[in-house]
């Protein structure tokens, strides 16, 4: 199971990095989202990973999973929503303002690329 978890993190990271390296805003934003998943899961797994032992106290139960990473990841998820929203807004604003959704500075023809779309 640990192998599956770690490999899932690896796959999401790799795909996230690849998309972040693309040239247009939308894939870059998706890439950042994938990286967010990877990071959140990574943080989550930094405690002990246990099946069927939620950190909700019950009489007679002694084995619980590590609650601390969960609390950290919970806020991380909500904050990453805020961050994604801001990034999307910036990307959208840039596109609406210049009709260009490249993430890199365009050497000279930035304004001529009508629509910048296919």
């Amino acid at each position: 199971m640990e192998f599956l978890l770690a490999s899932a993190i690896g796959v999401m990271t790799a795909a996230g990095i690849y998309l972040v390296l693309r040239l247009r805003t939308f894939p870059v934003i998706l890439g950042i989202s994938l990286l967010t998943y990877a990071v959140n899961v990574f943080l989550f797994t930094s405690g002990q990973v246990v099946i069927g032992a939620p950190p909700v106290l019950r009489d007679g139960v002694t084995v619980y999973t590590d609650p601390l990473p969960q609390a950290l990841v919970l806020t991380a998820i909500v904050i990453s929503f805020g961050m994604t929203a801001v990034v999307v807004m910036i990307g959208l604003g840039a596109f609406l303002g210049s009709n260009d959704d490249h993430v890199d500075d365009q050497p000279e023809i930035a304004d001529d690329q009508a629509g910048g779309t296919s």
Binding site: M1, F3, L4, L5, A6, S7, A8, G10, V11, M12, T13, A14, A15, I17, Y18, L19, V20, L21, R22, L23, F26, P27, L30, S33, V41, F44, T45, Q48, I51, P54, P55, V56, L57, T65, P67, L68, Q70, A71, T75, I77, V78, I79, S80, G82, T84, V86, V88, M89, I90, G91, L92, G93, F95, L96, G97, D104, D105, G115, G116, S118
Partner: protein, 957 residues
């Protein structure tokens, strides 16, 4: 008054002038004056302690681990400088009231002035050298603002920049020197450092520390070769010049040399560097000053020259030299401030400061004439004025100083400097006030109103009084000197006298004054020679160095920073991976301590789906809608993974966030192109894949390594599990951590989230008010619009579901403390319920039914959480201490009331507000783009009914 107040008053007072700006100029000056006066009086209340020879200390630990403490010390040296700073500051404020014109923003001016004053007072009262450095940098910054106050003048801006560059560089050097000094002694407290003369001077790092500290002092006090910034700073308004260059800014370097005198002076290195620099500066400044035609430039170079004189005196390292330096600081501050203010008066009344255009003002401006004459003669060293006394002492000291093995060098150069000094003073009086009255002044000169002449006139009082009765100043100067000398030497017994007998210094003085008069006689031929002589232009050299540095920086930075984000990202990723690999290969690795758990078929199936969706995203990312669906699958699988791995709270959060994120992306995609075109070459994609795979492998390795090993230290999680119920009153440990144990973190996080939402709102507003608006209005949708905007089924369903959603949200919220749930999740659920209304019934319809704006909801949330935290102050507990009780109201079961629940309400409200404000902002863009949607709740658009081809055909049939 406490020393803290004296330092803090100008800083807090700096807020007032700006506020009083609208109340009129007099009110503005009034508050500034009052603030300064309060600090001045506060300083004077410490006078008895100082006169008793004691030291006032005030201490608050700031960052004790770094050795940085807010420690203030007031001894007679600090008192002397603070007296000059605050006292002359008061006169300057009164003077500036009349000087500044109606076009000048007075509030701004006095704000900068008070900031500067506070920083200066901070320097002279600091007992901690790190604190001193902070104030030191603050004077550089605030003097930059003051010098560049007339922003419309290019000379002002350039002068300010030059002053900041030179003094800032010096400040950087000084930081290094001070840190070395602190390392040597093992303490950053001045009072400790000053006790360790032998330790410091024996240390091999003494010379580097000395050079670095002197760099700071020399740049600040405009010593050769850094003297060139001071004349350029004259572009500032005259009150600023008078303040900065007579009593304060440039004296900071002198102050520090005096402060450090007991531990740094007395060595050959100190003597060689400081005396030589001072001597060169004194002579050079005096010579240049003579040939300047601008009154303020003349005074500026004369300031440079006099600072050189003081520096030279400190450099000799004798007790008598230090005493002469202190005495001259006092005298120079009085006559120079008066002269600067008078130059401002002449400029103000005659509308020119060019000596060549002036002359004959003696009868036109008699008052100014008297003030300038007395001050200038004092500067020239004429008996019965205070400048004479300290100049005699300087010449006396010079006469006993042998530099480079020659007993003649210093006395001769000192006499030459004094000669030129006398010459420019006589020129100042002769060429401005004597001579025939002219008829081509730019404006008719006359004596100024009392507000302008009184401040310099007050400064003339000590000039004359000390000059006539030097014994009045003697005890105070000796007290200050004692504080400079510390334990290093005894205060000299020599008395301040006008007549010392026929000593060499007297003859040197006579040579200087007579020579100065002769020099004025041959001024015109000398000027011609001066004008023809080639000499380096300091500003051109400075500009050349700055230009070269800028070119170098550009050559270095532009190729590295070419605006390509993807390149930065690739470089960053590779760097992180390489650094991680280095750590991995050099660190110690332990054997696995956990055994791998078996993975059931469910987990494998989930993993397969996740990986398939991720790989699909990479392959199909050019189709943006498809990739959005795929990322939805990834998010869903992650949520399910959380459920599986005992994290129900996470799963619920991830799931609900997923929904709002997808809606948000869809709203954005409405405007963005639907496809990503193929742009990058195969090679580029290969390169990116390589980087991505390296990053993926690295994170896999890291995660796998962690997962197979136990934590090195004991995790603090056990504490949370053990205390969750006992201390926090809840059984859901995750929720208790969020709202109780780590409540302060959560408080910060909801604020971050709220700021993000407000940022989105602000960006939307900017877009809608800018040129984008027109583009949006003319935009043609690139997708066919839906046939019915608000499908009836959806409208009905969402309305029926709304109360159910609310109830679920309420339930999740309430159960949060003991079961999975809580404010975050409840907030997200309720947001989704509201978003559904927007989607089904339309923006206009929903917004019309909106009772509270989302900003208000965010504010209410943050405030609720904040006030809950503050509430614990009332029972003398730290911020956000929680409490809970169990109550039982028949016929219900026993339930819990916790303050944490109130905090959770804050979290809930903030989340709802933030999510809704973000989504609403995006929708407002969309709404602007297309036709205004109808007020009708659901169904069919009547206008479309009339125009629709289907309807038309039907009617036709």
């Amino acid at each position: 008054m406490s020393l803290f107040f004296i330092v803090a008053l100008p800083f807090f007072g700096a807020l007032l002038p700006r506020l009083m700006n609208t109340a009129g100029r007099s009110a503005c000056v009034g508050v500034t004056f009052t603030v300064s006066l309060a600090a001045f009086v506060g300083l004077l209340t410490n006078l008895p302690t100082i006169l008793a020879g004691e030291v006032v200390m005030a201490r608050v630990d700031w960052m004790p681990a770094l050795g940085l403490n807010f420690t203030l010390m007031l001894d007679s040296l600090g008192f002397f400088f603070a007296l000059l700073i605050l006292g002359i500051g008061l006169l300057i404020i009164a003077y500036a009231r009349q000087y500044l014109s109606r076009d000048d923003n007075m509030g701004e001016f006095f704000t900068y002035l008070l900031l500067f004053q506070g920083a200066m007072v901070g320097i002279v009262l600091s007992d901690n050298i790190l604190l001193l450095l902070i104030f030191w940098e603050l004077t550089s910054l605030s003097s930059f603002l003051l010098i560049g106050y007339w922003k419309h003048l290019p000379e002002g801006r350039q002068g300010a920049r030059m002053a900041l560059t030179v003094t800032g560089m010096g400040g950087l050097a000084m930081i290094g020197g001070m840190l070395i000094l602190g390392q040597i002694v093992g303490s950053y407290d001045l009072s400790v450092i000053l006790q360790n003369r032998e330790l410091i001077q024996a240390d091999p790092l003494y010379v580097p520390a000395l050079i670095l500290i002197l760099l700071g002092c020399f740049t600040k006090s405009a010593q050769f070769p850094f003297h060139f910034w001071l004349p350029h700073a004259m572009a500032a308004p005259t009150p600023v010049s008078a303040y900065l260059h007579s009593a304060t800014m440039v004296k900071a370097g002198i102050f520090l040399m005096a402060r450090m005198w007991p531990v740094l002076s007395g060595t050959p290195e100190w003597f060689m560097i400081v005396t030589t620099a001072g001597l060169i500066t004194m002579v050079l400044g005096a010579v240049i000053a003579l040939f300047k035609h601008d009154l303020k430039a003349l005074l500026a170079f004369s300031t440079v020259s006099h600072l050189g004189l003081i520096t030279m005196l400190l450099g000799t390292g004798t007790a008598f030299g230090a005493m002469a330096a202190m005495f001259h600081i006092l005298n120079h501050a009085t006559f120079k401030a008066a002269l600067f203010m008078s130059a401002g008066i002449i400029d103000h009344e005659a509308h020119t400061r060019d000596i060549r255009r002036l002359g004959g003002l003696r009868t036109l401006m008699p008052l100014t004439f008297v003030i300038v004459s007395l001050a200038a003669m004092s500067m020239a060293g004429i008996p019965l004025l205070n400048g004479f006394l300290s100049k005699e002492m300087m010449l006396e000291e010079a006469n006993h100083t042998a530099l480079f093995g020659s007993p003649w060098l210093v006395p001769v150069l000192a006499t030459v400097g004094s000669l030129f000094s006398a010459a420019y003073c006589f020129r100042l009086i002769g060429h401005v006030f004597f001579g025939p009255v002219r008829d081509d002044y730019p404006a008719k000169p006359h004596d100024p109103p009392v507000g302008l002449w009184l401040p310099p006139a007050l400064l003339i009082v000590p000039v004359v009084v000390i000059g006539v009765a030097p014994f009045l100043a003697e005890p105070f100067v000796k007290l200050v000197t004692a504080s400079v000398l510390g334990d290093a030497a005894d205060v000299p017994s020599a008395h301040f006298k006008i007549w010392h007998g026929l000593v060499p210094a007297l003859f040197m003085s006579i040579v200087a004054v007579v020579g100065g008069l002769l020099m004025l006689r041959i001024f015109n031929p000398a000027l011609r020679i001066w004008d023809e002589a080639p000499r380096p232009e300091a500003k051109a050299i400075f500009d050349g160095i700055v230009e070269a540095a800028a070119v170098l920086a550009q050559k270095l930075i532009l190729p590295l920073h070419n605006g390509a984000f993807s390149r930065y990202a690739a470089v960053g990723t590779i760097t992180i991976v390489v650094a991680g690999f280095y750590a991995w290969s050099t660190g110690t690795l332990s054997a696995p301590t956990r055994t791998m758990q078996t993975a059931g078929p469910v987990l494998i199936a989930g993993w397969l789906m996740l990986v398939a969706a991720v790989v699909g995203m990479v392959l199909l990312h050019r189709n943006r809608f498809l990739s959005l669906i795929l990322i939805g699958i990834v998010g869903l699988m992650v949520s399910i993974g959380f459920v599986f791995l005992s994290a129900p709270d996470l799963a619920m959060t991830q799931f609900t966030v997923e929904v709002v994120t997808i809606i948000l992306m869809l709203l954005a995609l409405n405007f963005l192109p639907n496809r990503t075109p193929v742009e990058s070459s195969l090679l580029r994609r290969m390169r990116d894949s390589g980087v991505a795979i390296a990053g993926g492998l690295a994170s896999f390795a890291l995660a796998y390594y962690y997962l197979m090993r136990d934590a090195i230290g004991t995790p603090i999680s056990e504490f949370h599990l053990a205390n969750s119920y006992k201390g926090g009153g809840g059984t859901n440990v995750v929720n208790v951590i969020l709202v109780d144990f780590r409540g302060f973190d959560t408080f910060g996080e909801i604020i971050v989230l709220s700021i993000a939402a407000l940022l989105i709102y602000a960006l939307t507003e900017t877009l809608l008010n800018g040129p984008v608006r027109a583009r949006l209005l003319h935009r043609k949708p690139d997708q066919p619009r839906a046939g019915d905007k608000h499908p009836m089924m959806m409208v009905v369903l969402t309305r029926v579901m709304m109360p159910v959603v609310m109830m679920v949200g309420f339930y999740i919220f309430l159960s949060g403390h003991n079961e999975p749930g809580g404010g975050f999740i409840a907030g997200l659920i309720v947001s989704i319920g509201v978003v559904m209304q927007y989607m089904a019934s339309g923006f206009a319809w929903t917004n019309a039914r909106l009772r509270y704006p989302y900003h208000g909801v965010i504010g209410a949330g943050v405030l609720t959480a904040g006030f809950t935290g503050i509430g614990s102050w009332f029972v003398n507990k730290p911020f956000l201490t929680s409490d809970f009780v169990y109550v039982r109201i028949p016929p219900f079961e026993k339930f819990e009331l916790a303050t944490a629940a109130l905090f959770d309400v804050g979290v809930f409200l903030s989340v709802v507000g933030a999510v809704m404000l973000s989504l609403e902002s995006f929708s407002r863009l969309a709404r602007r783009a297309h036709t205004i949607d109808s007020e009708h709740p659901m169904d069919i658009d009547p206008s479309r009914d009339a125009l629709s081809p289907v309807a038309a055909v039907r009617e036709g049939v």
